[in-house]
Symmetry: D2
Subunit: 438 residues, 4 copies
């Protein structure tokens, strides 16, 4: 693997880079959380992918390990020898610069290595990485630290994908298996009040990451944008509101949809968010705790960009740009459900205090579609080497989502974080918040 | 499941129908053999399907059980209650008359029920079927016996499919896992002599099943056909011969191929039989015991109808019709490898006695493509009810193969047996034998 | 074009081969008839193909001319020089042995050469062929004559395709243009009596062409087949009868269909024969004279093999084999509509004399699907050279149709004639006749 | 057609709206230019479409006429009666709000109405529109004027499409027909100097249309954007430069491409711009005057967004945003080839005066890809009624191109004009200009 290239992207505060002890602890903690997430799954569950866009849980376990092997050990550890040459090929996702990749839609065919073998692989690489962190010279450690941090953030992204991909798999099974039991109170007692609008003044704002801590290259550089005066809804759109859209014929009115969205409606047969089913007793939706009645007060989830855009048009509003979203998010405090809560479902949005208006749940619950196509910030520079493939090569035909979801770790997401998916994707925990011109 | 229809097809000798003890024993033995075949597989191996045409081993285990539940217990046992309502849907293959079916290309998504649950299902149905066999009134037993026999033959067909489908799955895996260890002698020492032709006179022959024992409906009725004088090769085409075809540009000469075959060559990129790889050391092929050098003396295997037809044209010969094949098979004795040998690979064809000419290996080693499109025999009547879907509805765009393979049970195959696959199929143990006009 | 190979297939009586005068006359007459057929069409109509399986009329005009240029002039005329090198590529249909071919689904993109230029091409080649026929030495003429006869029969096949392809094109146009005016009496006054069965004894029959005159290689050799006793309907199935099948839910009952047929019904949305439309006033069908009410007494037309097979099953009957059909056709006299009548639609089947039972309309009106897959006759030898590609390479996944249609020339069809199409094809003038075991 | 909705979009200066005489003259002139463009084509040429994304010239002629019939006459003329009811369906492109549309990929099947009938249709509608313009009351005329202006701009868009679509059609034809003769000097004598960079200061700029005259809704509202300091190449990338990219392995280096672009390279087999062919004598390209050697000094043309983006990365630069482009274009004067020149090919870029640096050819020659995804401007409002479908519903998965091409009318394009195509489109006259951070 002579082609392995040193990664040198990201912006990491020097404190983290120097602090081997803190890094090792964080490594252990995040890697363990991944194992917690697959604990409810059988080896069979972990082997299969629901569709070409998803991956088997076992593959996620192996690929996130491959990332550390390739970009930390192979790149920085002079004693490095491959754990298994084949794994370098099987578990490379899309890094052309470090070799060929096993066909993505066929990842679900890899019944070998077994789950046990992949867990052995994880343990072995964990041991080596931890030994490397502890034993590396100050110089090497400094250089490797930023890559390790990327690897841990990468791991957290795959934690979320393990959840979204297993949800898609269980949905394809008529048995509708539950990933876990949900002991939380059956359904919300309160109700969600009508939307209230938070206005923001026009002006020249700064957007993008700055300061201490980790961020991805695509959040940089911090740069100026002019924003006209606008207003943002104080909370995401709820299931109850989305049902009004459905009942008003939202899925049958071409005038509400983008041209490609209208084609998707017909081709895919959409008539509700993903995972919804109309029963005699009303709408139900599939959660990681199984089927249950749709809670009207929860943020609507598993809608595509097309559906979000159509809903906004129907509501006489629009989606926010990512600059508007980020600019407004600064200072918002109330968070929705996050991965740490291990409920993996958006939380009910019940009004408690109608007196004080604030932007609620900018972080957590559901990724919020923005109207911004995913592209490079002004002054953006693609990192050198393989890590340049991490984000930059996907800047085409995707839309930015912001804020994280109930499957995102709170230690992973932040106001400047840019997630991105194609306009028809629905299997992520994606919802929306309205904006309008002021 | 009120739509379940009594099956009343097949031709079964009365002795078998009356003999509950013999039937129970046979039931136990064949059902156990299926379990033996999956013993080397992990739960993960059993969950996945390599392609839409194949099925997961777990599905084969469940479907063959569903067959007994649906057509024996539900149809004949007054005490019947479903083991699990969902299974009736999940494990119905293609019987429209007994309800809807879970989408075939998605069988590999069913990580639940687990392999253990499916094995429980098998045990439970086995208990019930055996109890039914022992406890049924003479009258009911007589009526059910023919269905049980169909179910056992059906089970044996799926035993072969378990092997062919797992071979396809392991081939898709770059690790090239071995299903089993093969301790047999490395490679044949002897060599195969040139083809010798066995001539058969013209005349009016009788074709199709008659007499005692089980047969499928598509082998009936026995009927007359006129055959012109012809000759049949004394043995199947070998790997060594097929390599000559390859080296003579067989895959590059359009004049050797049927029009659809030539299109398949281009579309699929064929340049050798399935499972072959050209290495620096020569041709290797993938077996259920892993990769190994191609043995020149073995019958060539995993070729499509198109390749068989092209080879025959190249060799200045043709494929036999199924009438010619069946007519000639009568009296041939030397058998090739069969499932019982558990080697699951064709046996080397070494000449021992060049003096006596006879038709060798008509049964076993490889299914032999015939030039006959699969269709109804004159006077054929589709059985009433669901069993009418077993064979009759596939009489279109398939070719007949004869003789069984190294993955076919010797107690399952016979001279009149008609297997059928589409002209491009290669993942069965399929080979060919030449014919020519005399 | 050094690869051009002399054609030496077909069976032609020596009288035809020697008789240059008769041949020239026949050449002029058949080539002129082709021009008559395109006379109602505009240059635009002639340029376009309705679907990949069809060709533009202009392409038919050019390709049938290319056939004479390539296989007669280039092969036999020492003075030959290409009319236009590009045409040799553009208008080669599928003869791999005489060079590459322009992509079939893109034939409709060839707006150049223009229709006028193609007509010039026809005239130029006609002049040369006629000069060749007149001027050739006895020896050369004898050798070329059989190819010219094949070319003329080939021309007649394309006459029929011009009609079926233009019908498909006009059907795709919401304006539903009429190819011609039909002045014939509006609708039949009489009615068709119920089916009567003509029984045929069992016995050893001879099938295939013999005697004087032209035939295709696939009609040879004449050979023996054993036929069990059977009965054939005295006439094709009518529109009136087919409507009963529709109204009885024929298109909604999976038990009536072959597995692939049932898939086709769902995929294509079939609910009636091609070119039918249900209006407030009942069923109408599109003819080359435009839309008109379905005539209940006409043979049903534009049904696939799948629909024919399903109808037969519904009717408690089956389709005949091609041997049965051919054996019965011998001696039948009443013909249906043929190309010469220039009405291009099946003729009404009104009972005139119920006393005498005979096989009516074996020739003409509609091609009749048989249950026989298209394959080589016993003893068949593929002709040497390019003409070997004419028929032999299509012997896979097609069914034989017999008897010719209202778009077939009476001088082209005969009892031994084997037409073939895939089981889902509907745009030919194809219908069916029932058979049953006696 | 009761659903026809009044169009009330666009921004038109009141002078144009009031000036019936000027409008009539402009109408005549633009409509006549369209006829000039199809003059070299035969009826066959006009009937066919090269691919689903293109349309037949005849369809363009009819659709642009349908636009006036539907949005001017039907909406504003009290005496309106349809010319032909069917045309309202056949020639509606994508306006869901005014009824169903004939399937786009099948437009090439409409051999009827004939070209002559479509030309009659044009004449009839022209007469009616001109009569309407002259005879309408001041009040009605004022309301209709903006729609007529949209219709004329729409007509000019289709003039360009007639040229790009016929070029694609002729390219599909191995005869490589020439649309016209090009008498211009064979090849440029001069050479293009190296790129020079024009720097622009940072600051708050105003982007979007303002002032008198026509613009599309998507150019509004004029709004502020902040631009960081940047530099723009003084001219488009030339063929000579692009050949260096090719020869440096540009099409074989995955690191230069967006992920979707790299997939497109493989899927489509790209190895040069569209219409290029490598011959023994070097690169040739297909023009509307036939094949000719690639002129190194011309702007490269017929490259996709993916190729433009890859080239820019290879050159160590990037594509400009549309704001950068528009901001810089203000004041640039030298134009490239435009439709009026009737050469329909970019003009050679020879350096005349190296002393003065300026932005050359911002308008004309080739549409320049920008890195901006096509989306709504801040404050954009979708027009009411059918015209809302003109631009807004396509704001997804497209990139903005700026500046017009050699097939764009100079009276149609302007600095604020936003064209948009998907990232893989190559059949437009599309090229690129480099940008970089300053």
């Amino acid at each position: 693997m002579s082609t392995i290239t040193t990664i040198s992207g990201g912006s990491v505060s020097s404190s983290a880079a120097n602090d081997g002890v803190g890094l090792a602890e964080r490594y252990r903690s995040i890697r363990t959380e991944t194992l917690n997430l697959v604990a409810p799954l059988t080896a069979e569950d972990c082997a299969v992918q629901a569709m070409a866009e998803a991956s088997p849980a076992k593959w996620h376990l192996a690929h996130s390990t491959w990332f550390f092997e390739t970009f930390v050990l192979a790149a920085h550890d002079p004693k490095y020898a491959p754990f298994d040459e084949t794994y370098l090929y099987l578990f490379n996702s899309y890094y052309n610069s470090v070799g060929r990749q096993y066909s993505r839609p066929h990842r679900g065919l890899l019944t070998r290595p077994s789950l046990d073998e992949v867990l052995d692989y994880r343990r072995a690489i964990d041991d080596r990485v931890l030994a490397f962190i502890e034993g590396a010279s100050n110089d090497i450690a400094k250089r490797a630290a930023s890559t390790i941090l990327i690897g841990l953030n990468h791991e957290q992204q795959h934690q979320e994908l393990i959840l979204t991909d297993i949800k898609a798999l269980f949905w394809a099974n008529p048995l509708r298996p539950a990933y876990q039991v949900d002991d939380s109170a059956a359904s919300a007692i309160g109700s969600t009040g009508s939307v209230r609008w938070v206005e923001l003044d026009d002006g020249l704002r700064e957007i993008g990451f700055s300061g201490e801590g980790f961020c991805y290259d695509n959040e940089t550089p911090r740069h100026r944008v002019w924003l006209d005066r606008f207003a943002l809804s104080d909370r995401p759109v709820t299931n109850g509101e989305f049902i009004q859209f459905i009942e008003d014929g939202g899925y049958a009115r071409s005038d509400l949809w983008l041209s490609d969205g209208w084609i998707a409606v017909g081709r895919e047969g959409w008539h509700s968010p993903l995972y919804w089913e109309k029963t005699d007793g009303g709408w139900e939706n599939f959660t990681l705790a199984g089927m249950r009645p749709v809670d009207l007060t929860e943020p609507v989830c598993h809608v595509s960009y097309f559906e979000s855009d159509a809903y906004a048009r129907w509501a006489g509003a629009r989606l926010p740009t990512e600059s508007e979203w980020e600019s407004a998010a600064d200072g918002a405090t109330e968070q929705g459900a996050l991965l740490e809560g291990h409920r993996f479902h958006p939380a009910a949005l019940v009004d408690t205090d109608r007196a004080a208006i604030s932007l609620r749940r900018m972080i957590g619950d559901v990724w919020e579609w923005t109207s911004s196509a995913y592209s490079a910030y002004p002054g953006y520079r693609t990192p050198e080497g393989a890590i340049g493939e991490y984000n930059a090569k996907f800047m085409c035909n995707q839309f930015v989502l912001r804020g994280g979801s109930c499957a995102t770790s709170g230690s992973h997401v932040r106001g400047t974080y840019r997630n991105y998916f194609s306009a028809a994707a629905r299997w992520q925990f994606s919802g929306l918040r309205l904006a309008r011109n002021a």
